[in-house]
């Protein structure tokens, strides 16, 4: 994998290998916080920030602390602890900067901790043997890709709430999952551009 340019990894993780649309990671908050474009944008930014920072910190932690001591098996717990700390920090920053976003995200802000996309980002970076720059680009790209996907969905849901009649059985998560599938198909259209898997 070493030969992949960081830029390629970045583009690919935003579009062709979008962590949400191809790996279906981070679905929980994606489904629940996608009603309003504004909050989706806020959560997208928060996830991107946490994802970028945690891949960088976790890269360093894995290769400079865990590997030398032969503690690779501790990666899950170590990564989660780092993620939890970063989410705490983000929570404080959001609280300081925007009351509205803080109130809108509510419980979902601390729940970024258990957003699978974030742990997924760190684990993929290890499995795919990325170097530091590649990892950070992958983290940033995945975050932006996740934000893009949730904002696309929020936009569609806003339009839908205004004029579409959804059959009752599909209201809520049902129709959202169908829409997600269609967005994912749409993103396949990018697959000719770059491929990292």
């Amino acid at each position: 994998m070493d030969e992949l340019s960081p830029l390629v990894i970045f583009i690919a993780s935003v579009f062709t290998s979008n962590i949400l649309l191809t790996n279906f990671l981070g679905m929980c908050s994606y489904l629940s916080v996608s009603r309003e474009l504004k909050t989706a944008w806020g959560l997208g930014i928060a996830v991107s920030f946490v994802l970028t920072c945690t891949t960088a910190v976790n890269y360093w932690l894995y290769y400079y602390v865990l590997v030398p001591q032969g503690l690779e098996y501790l990666q899950y717990i170590a990564f989660i602890v780092v993620i939890a700390a970063f989410v705490q920090a983000v929570e404080m920053i959001v609280d300081r900067l925007s009351d509205r976003l803080y109130a809108a995200l509510g419980i979902f802000l601390p729940l970024i901790t258990v957003n699978c996309a974030i742990l997924g980002g760190s684990l993929f970076m290890i499995i795919r043997k990325y170097d530091f720059i590649q990892s950070v680009m992958f983290g940033a790209g995945s975050g932006i890709g996740w934000a893009l996907a949730i904002m696309a969905l929020a936009g569609i849901r806003r339009k839908m709430s205004r004029r579409s009649a959804v059959i009752p059985a599909l209201e809520g998560p049902g129709i959202v999952l169908i829409i997600t599938g269609i967005i994912a198909l749409g993103f396949i259209g990018f697959s000719g551009v770059v491929q990292i898997n």
Binding site: Q69, A84, D95, S98, D99, A104
Partner: protein
Amino acid sequence: MTQVIVPALSIAGLATALALLILIAERYLMDYGEVELTINDDRKHRVKGGSTLLNTLKSESIFIPSACGGRATCAYCKVKAVRGFGEVLPTEEPLLTKEEITNNIRLSCQLKVKNDVAIEIPEELFSIREFKARVEAISDLTYDIKLFSFRLNEPEFIDFKPGQYIQFQAPEYGDIDESVYRAYSMCNVPEDKRTVELMVRLVPEGICTTYMFQYLSVGDAVTLTGPFGDFYLRKGDRRMICMAGGSGMAPLRSILKAMKPEQIARRRPIFFFGARSKRDLFMVDEWSAFEREHPDFKFVPALSSPEEGDDWNGETGFIPGLVEKYVDNVAEGEGYLCGSPGMLNACVEVLTKHGIPEERIYYDKFE
């Protein structure tokens, strides 16, 4: 051995380092320092920033009514935000009307005091205090309504308008692991400034009433906050049409008993009191005595479903149906109502049908 110690120490070290980082971040990010809170343009308080407006006001001994404890569900804690607060929050939106939003009315439990702010609150909120009191007497009014009498210790005196309510704090007890507040109207007259009397009906599985009925006994210490509410006697000479059911008698008892004799002669109050059967009826003798004392006052108890053996020769049926029979020229009157939402709606409907505009009907709804 090292196989155990090294991983444990590594994780512990990592967690400690991150915890330290968070503490440092908290120290700098969450510290808003001292800010200035201006109330009604003239009262200025130096307060510590960072907590909600409701709690900040509480720490300054200003008590805003709140029943849900800051969970943005009761919508009692509305205040006018003059400056220093941002846009309306998503948690507030469902509880504010469009008109309130344009007038900058906000929920004080959701707003955070982070910089110099200014708010407006009704002047009467300044007289709200937290009282430490003791139970002086508990007596049965009916099988499910009790009269609680409290003697205030700290502060010793309360100033309230007849008809207002106070919040009773039920502490943690039994399986209930959270202290709750519930509102009850004072049923005594404000003249005796050291006493607060409440009529409480036992709500099946109610947290607060269960506590009051099963755990509270004479001599116990209690905490009361108040007075609150805008249900009180309005000025003027209009005839007072009072309607209540069950423990809804409380605020009307306070209002009527506090009136001066010449006021009663002028406003000729009539009090319709609804109950299911005779065992739900109480204080009838007291009201009969009040009637004899004031010839212009009339008490009309009515049973909606008298039981066999009740030996009842008074009115039967629901009280809204009796208004026409007892009051001529209803349209010129003024309504004072207290009771369950169902009863209140029926009463409001009858009074408006007879031509009393809704703004002249005052009520206290149990919720």
